[in-house]
Structure formats: C-alpha cells, structure tokens
C-alpha cells in the first residue's frame, strides 16, 4: 500500500511501535525528460539494524535527529515528564517571551480548514502523505496544549479540541516529525486566519532542545556548540580561517590579475563583512568574489578574526532561542568593538534573517545590518564597476531563498542586478515571495545522517528541482551547454548542489549553480579571463 493511502489519524502518533507510515519515492510531482523515470533513481536507504537498535522515533522510516532509545521504563517516564515540563515553559512569559504571542494565536485559532496543505512542497512531493500535512504536527501540539496547558473541564476541552494520548512513542515520533518541515512558511502565507504551522514546528524543536536537550547533532554539537567553542560551525579556528582566506586571496589575485587582499579586524571600517564560513571551505570563489567587488568599489571593509565573528551561521534560529541569542550577541559585540558602520551579511539567507530582523530585538538595535543583495545593488548603481552583460551570455535562473525573500522582503535588488548583467535571465514559477523552498531550509542542507539525504532529495527538494527544469524548458535539457542556477544563499546552494548531483543534472543537462556575486564579477569587463569557469565547477 502506498504511503498516501495509509489511513492515519492525529491520535495514531501515540499508538503502536515502529514505523507509522513507511514512505517510498513517488512521482506526484512530475519531472520532464530525462528525469521522468522514477525507477532510475535510488530509493530510500533502509535503516541498518544498528540504527534500529539505537534510536527511537520511527514515523516514516527516516532518521534525521536520532532520538536515543530510553534504557528503562523509568527513563521513559522521566522523558515524558521532561516533555510536559517543557510544554509548560513553552507557554510561559519568562521562558518563551520570544515567540509566545504568535504561538498562542496559532494554537487557539486554527479552523482546521486545511487551506494551507497544498502550499507545502513536502506534502505535495510526497504524494500527500498524511503525516507531512502542515497541520498534522501542529494538531498534535494543539491537542497537547489544550489538554495539559489550558485550564478548564477535560470533558469540554475534549469536545472542543479532541483528545490525544501522551506517551514516549508520541514524543519520539514528534521529535522526528518536527524535522520534516523546512520552516519555509509558505503554508502560513495562505492561512486566511494567520495561523503559522511553520512557527509551531519551530517551537516544537525549541521545546525538545531547550528542555530535553534533543536536537540534530549537525545543528547543535557540530553547529552552534562548536561555533561558540571554536569560532565556527565548520570547525575552523581563527588561525585556520585566516590561512584559508589568504589562500583564496592568492587564488583570486592570480585569476583577476591584480592584488586582492582581505583586510582583518580593521577598526572603524565602513563594512564588517560576515560570511557563512561554509563558503570559505565549500565555495571559496564566493568570498573571493566579494573581496574583488569591495576592492573594485573602493569600500573600506574588513573581516573579523575573532571567534564567531568570521562565521555568520546561526543555526540557533532553527531550533534553540538561547543558542540563537548567544551567537547573535557575539556578532553584535564584535561589530561594536571594531566600531564599524554596518555589518554586511554574506550571501546567506538565515544569517541575513537573524542579523537583519530576528536578532535586532535581542542585540538592542544599535548595530546596523545590511543584506548582501542590497549592498551589491548599491555598488552596481554607483557605477564603479565596468560591467559587460555579454560575458554572462548563458541561461540564468534565480532561486529565491525563503529567509531573504518571504521573511525579509528582499525581492527586487537581486532581480534588478540580474536584468543588468545576465541577458538570458528567466524567472522560476512561482517566484518572489511565493517561491518554493530549496528543500534544505531550517538546517536540512547540512543534515545528512542515516537516510535523511534521500528524504531531502525525493521530498523536500523535488519541487525546487522541477522549478529549475521548468525554468530551462526552452533550452535543450539533454545538452550539457551551461545553464546557471543563481542561489544567493549558502544553505540553498548546499541543497541545490545535492539535488543536481542526485539527479545527475550537471552531466545530463549542464545545470550548474552558484551565487550572485560570482555572476557580477564574471560580468566585470576589466577582468580578462571569465571568473566563472564551468569546466572547474
């Protein structure tokens, strides 16, 4: 029986043992040739016995978090009590002032009309699997909220909101299920009442992390904890990052024919540029292109070599307000210490969101921040670059990172740039604030344990791949002549890289990906050789 046809109710989450809905690849979202044969794609890897023995929380046969199995009934009971304690804190002013008001509004006013469902790319790409409905996990939390948090007669509450049994099976499955939503908030846009299922998922993750200490290791141990301890979620300390950037500078200087030199810790600089440090390791041409851009524009800029200051990543945004606050406070302190006029966030959606809007209510409002897209458009408008759009004469489409576009309203600067520098630019449909998530949002792009990558490729990223293919529909998809997906966000780039690899899109159709700044530098006429080298990508 296909996963779609399995009749699952909200209350089933606490029933039975093992996998609730065994999922499988489906082709409800149809891809054009040569990607239309589902049977040619790898399916979901089955979990090994070791994983099955070690973890709990089986809901769909996929493991993203890896919830450790309790070793005894007492431990299980303690975990249930810990969850209940966290549930109370989630609805308290002191512990959750950060999101209490929107959370309560979303808890108490959903009409259960399901209007939001078809806006979810995961629900659509999965073939409408019940547990991926944006309202499913929200409804589980809602029933728990009314049962345990809100005062009143149990009978009336049951009549009004339904019932649910709280046990470890529910909790462990809910942990995993809270990592089957990319928090893109497309569903929230379509809710006529203003209920936000993305927020509810976010709050669930917080409860698990902040009270129970449960979070994916890529986001927590290897993410925020490592960033705060070592300086970067990549594991690079100050010395290593400086070494790497020096190497990038040398490489860039050779490429462009003039000296490119990154400045470190310049006090009173106009701009403190904070990249997602993943760029330095995975896509060095991106920070390299930024350095060239700043040189050409004559900007007084700097990077920080202080721990945390050279990495704009803040995975706390996805699962833990305290970790979020710790990192954003560090960023602000470093900017104040250097006395810079503003922080410019590199091409990274979630970094931009934290420093641009979310974090400003934590750090006090006296540190100014600007996103990379606005910053780059301003440079282009200044006329300091000698741009020749013909140097980008290949098909280009634009991915809209949810955090920059839907959440921050930065929609047009990147388009105005592309219209100037890329003659064969075309939009994806839908685009702008109604875009689809890349499928790697909310930290998924860096999560690849067990068989989670398979899930990202088949479900969360499939709609984006279809959009990419559709954008290039007027090109020959069986020819490997280059086509460029411009994704001005590190996490989105990571996910798009994985999608293109998974489907073999570079080899089959010549689809490449990269940032926006690389396209800008590629269009600079004063640089002899093309900056973008498709043979090397």
């Amino acid at each position: 029986m296909s996963a779609k046809k399995i009749d699952i109710k909200v209350t089933d989450i606490s029933k039975g043992q093992g996998v609730l809905v065994p999922i499988e690849p489906v082709d409800d979202v149809k891809l054009p040739p040569p990607y239309d044969k589902l049977e040619e794609l790898p399916g979901f890897r089955k979990l090994g016995q070791q994983s099955l023995d070690k973890y709990d929380g089986y809901i769909d046969g996929v493991i993203a978090v890896g919830v450790p199995k309790p070793q005894s009934e007492e431990e299980e009971q303690k975990l249930v009590e810990s969850f209940l304690s966290g549930l109370m804190k989630l609805f308290s002013n002191e512990n959750n002032w950060t999101f209490l008001q929107p959370l309560v509004l979303s808890m108490e006013h959903c009409a259960k009309c399901q209007t939001c469902n078809h806006d979810c790319p995961v629900y659509e790409a999965s073939g409408e699997v019940e547990i991926y409905r944006p309202t499913y996990r929200a409804e589980v939390l809602r029933r728990l909220y009314f049962k345990y948090v809100k005062p009143g007669s149990p009978l009336i509450k049951k009549f009004q909101h339904g019932d649910i049994e709280l046990n470890w099976t529910l909790i462990s499955r809910l942990v995993e299920l809270s990592y089957r939503c990319t928090l893109c908030r497309r569903c929230a846009q379509s809710c006529p009442i203003g209920v936000d299922n993305g927020l509810i998922t976010h709050e669930l993750r917080k409860l698990f992390s902040q009270e129970m200490g449960i979070a994916p290791k890529e986001l927590h141990e290897k993410g925020t904890v490592q960033q705060l301890e070592v300086g970067s979620s990549t594991g690079m300390n100050s010395l290593v990052v400086k070494d790497n950037v020096e190497f990038i500078d040398e490489d860039m200087s050779e490429k462009v024919g003039f000296k490119v030199e990154t400045k470190w810790d310049v006090e009173g600089a106009d701009v403190l540029l904070i990249h997602n440090a993943g760029e330095i390791l995975a896509w060095p041409e991106n920070p390299g292109a930024f350095a060239i851009l700043c040189e050409l524009a004559g900007i007084k800029w700097t990077l920080s070599s202080e721990a945390v200051g050279y990495d704009g990543v803040n995975y706390g945004l996805f699962y833990d307000d305290v970790q979020l606050a710790r990192i954003v406070v560090r960023h602000a302190e470093i900017a104040k210490k250097l006395g810079v006029k503003k922080i410019v966030m590199g091409e990274c959606g979630h970094e931009s969101k934290v420093l641009g809007i979310i974090g400003e209510r934590i750090i006090g409002g006296d540190v100014h921040t600007e996103n990379a897209l606005t910053f780059m458009e301003n440079i282009i408008n200044s006329g300091k670059l000698n741009l020749n759009p013909e140097r980008n004469y290949f098909p280009v489409t634009l991915h809209d990172p949810c955090n920059l576009v839907r959440i921050m309203g930065v929609v047009e600067p990147q388009r105005r740039i592309l219209r100037k520098i890329a003659p064969k630019f075309r939009e994806m449909e839908p685009h702008g604030v109604r875009n689809y998530c890349c499928g790697g949002g909310s930290g998924f792009a860096v999560m690849s344990g067990n068989n989670f990558t398979d899930w990202r490729m088949h479900f969360s990223g499939k709609m984006k791949f279809k959009q990419i293919l559709d954008a290039f529909a007027d090109e020959d998809l069986t020819s490997n002549s280059p086509k460029y997906v411009c994704a001005p966000c590190s996490n989105c780039k990571g996910q798009i890289r994985d999608i293109l690899d998974f489907y073999g899109a570079k080899e089959k159709s010549g689809i490449y990906y990269g940032g926006l700044v690389e396209l800008i530098i590629n269009a600079v006429d004063d640089i002899k050789e093309p900056f973008i080298d498709f043979d090397m990508m």
């Binding site: 009749d7 909200v10 804190k89 002013n93 002191e94 512990n95 002032w97 950060t98 999101f99 209490l100 008001q101 929107p102 309560v104 509004l105 108490e108 006013h109 009409a111 259960k112 009309c113 399901q114 209007t115 939001c116 078809h118 806006d119 009004q160 909101h161 929230a188 379509s190 809710c191 006529p192 009442i193 203003g194 902040q210 009270e211 129970m212 200490g213 927590h220 705060l228 305290v322 710790r326 979310i358 400003e360 209510r361 934590i362 006090g364 409002g365 100014h368 600007e370 996103n371 910053f375 576009v405 839907r406 959440i407 921050m408 309203g409 930065v410 929609v411 047009e412 702008g432 604030v433």
Partner: protein, 310 residues
C-alpha cells in the same frame, strides 16, 4: 419575556467580558521577536505590490519609514468581505464557507439596523410608522438581508456539514465541536427562514422585540419560532468568544501583531525599553547547554560563555 430580556443582558455581558479579557490577554503578552511574512501591505514606495520591504534600501536606517495604512485596508477589506484567501487557496471550501460567513455579515447588519430603528423610536421617531422613504429603505433592507442571509446561510451550513463529514481532509481534523458549531449557526439561519416563510411580519415583530428589550416591556408578542431564534442567538453570542471562532477579532492580532509587524528596534524607543525588560526575565529551561537555574536572566545566559557540555 422578562427571562429573555435578562438572558439578552447576560449574553451581551458575557460576550463583552470574554472578548475584552481576551484582547487584554493577547495585547499584554510580551513583545516577541520579529516574525513577519511578506508581502507586508503597509510597505510604502510601491514595495507592497511585489512583497518588498525597506530592507531593500541601502542604509535603510537612515531613511524615513513610509507606512501606507491604506495598503492594509486594501488587503483586509477583500479578505473580510469576500474571504479572498480561501478563494485563492481552497475554492472547494469557499463554496460553503463564503455563503456561511456572508450570511452572518447580513445578520450582523440587521442587528445594527434594528438597533438604529429602536434608537429612533426611543427618541420619538418611529420610522416604520411614518411614510418616509428612509423608513422604507431600512424596512426592505432588513427584509432582504434576512431572506438572503437565511438562504445563503442554510446553503453554507449544508455544504460545510457535507464537507466536514465526507471529505477525509476535514473529517480527520474535526472535533465534535466543529459539527456542533456549524449546526448551531445553521439553527440561527433556519429559525429566521422558518419565521419568514410562516407568513408573519418578521421585520415588525423583531423591531418590537428590540423596543421591548430596551423598555423592558412585557406586552411584546412574537411567534414560537422567534423565541427559538432569539434564545439560540443569545446563547451563540455568549458562546462565540470561547471558541476558535473568536478569530473574527483575533485575526487583527495574527495580522497586525505578527504577520505585518515589522517595527525596527530603535535605541531608546518604547519597544527598545520593553525588550530590555524582557531580557531580564529569568530562564528555567532545563537542558544542560542552557545553563539556567531559574534566576539567571536571558541577558546573563546569552552573554556568558557556555560551559563545555559533558
């Protein structure tokens, strides 16, 4: 009749107390972190059209913020009057939901019109007795609203009940109260419909009831179906704010306080002061990496170097 008058007063008081206390509860919640969702319709400079924000401007903090309040109205009016969001994203549901809601609007309009008629009568101007055009317009407006409302409402009730029962997308998520609420509201439409087809003068009889209510007159005569309609309406008014249907006013908060709330945190502003207070709230989250003890504040926890986890 006196019992009904008392019930009316209790019902209105319950409604007002419940609504006001809910508004106070929501409004007094702590200021949350920004969580807006674009498009934000008050963004000026033509940005609202495509979902842009002031963050598209270089050095945006040095520029004046243009807030276009008319932009919010342009979104809210079609949303409330036509349920535009449901139409765009869920047409099947709209077919039931729209007549159901629009009928309520017509009934609310009638409450306003009856209140006006009663007020005029109290000050000595019985517009239904005089032969003026204004009285006739009001009379026929109420009459048409009642007929249209009751018929549309019944269509919406049947359609919604059918959808909630037959469509598994809805039935799986519907509690007993969903069916009860639809039937409850449907009973208001049905009783007006029965009153209208009974051949009685609905407008005159209801107007008499309103007048009787404010004068506490016991000499008012209304048919049995009218008693049913009035009692059910009063119970519904008292019940409404305690349900998820309170979205009729909390929607203001989900939109204005969350989805469209984009106020920047400017040093020394009211917002800034509130946030500073909240940063001193004590934290008691129990996970070891938080390092909370129930007395340490958010500020202390966010600024201290976390101890290495064991």
């Amino acid at each position: 009749m006196i019992i009904i008058y008392i019930l009316t007063i209790l019902s209105i008081i319950t409604f007002l107390v419940a609504v006001i206390s809910k508004i106070i509860r929501i409004s007094s919640a702590p200021v949350h972190l920004r969580w807006e969702l674009y498009p934000v319709p008050h963004e000026g400079g033509g940005k609202a059209k495509y979902g842009g924000s002031r963050l598209e401007e270089p050095d945006w903090w040095e520029k004046k913020i243009h807030k276009d309040s008319l932009g919010e109205l342009k979104v809210m009016v079609p949303e409330i009057v036509f349920l535009k969001g449901v139409w765009e994203h869920n047409k099947q549901l709209w077919l039931g939901s729209y007549p159901f809601h629009f009928a309520l609007y017509l009934f609310i309009a009638n409450i306003a019109l009856f209140t006006l008629v009663t007020f005029l009568k109290l000050i000595g101007y019985d517009i239904f007795l005089s032969n003026n055009i204004f009285g006739q317009i009001i009379y026929y407006a109420i009459f048409i609203f009642a007929w249209t409302g009751s018929i549309l409402g019944l269509i919406g009730t049947i359609r919604l009940l059918f959808s909630r029962t037959v469509d598994p997308n809805l039935s799986k998520y519907s509690s007993a109260s969903h069916y009860f609420n639809i039937l409850f509201i449907g009973s208001l439409y049905l009783t007006v419909f029965l009153w209208l087809i009974s051949g009685r003068n609905f407008v005159a009889e209801m107007a008499n009831f309103y007048y009787g209510l404010v004068t506490f007159s016991t000499a008012i005569e209304i048919p049995i179906v009218a008693y049913w309609h009035i009692i059910l309406s009063l119970l519904f008014i008292a019940y409404l704010p305690f349900t998820h249907m309170s979205h009729f006013f909390t929607k203001y908060f989900t939109y204005h306080q969350v989805r469209w709330e984009d106020e920047p945190n400017i040093p020394s502003s009211k917002l800034n002061k509130k946030l500073s207070e909240q940063l001193n709230f004590p934290v008691s989250w129990a996970a070891p990496h938080i390092g909370a003890d129930g007395t340490k504040s958010w500020l202390a926890i966010a600024t201290e170097i976390p101890q290495k986890e064991k």
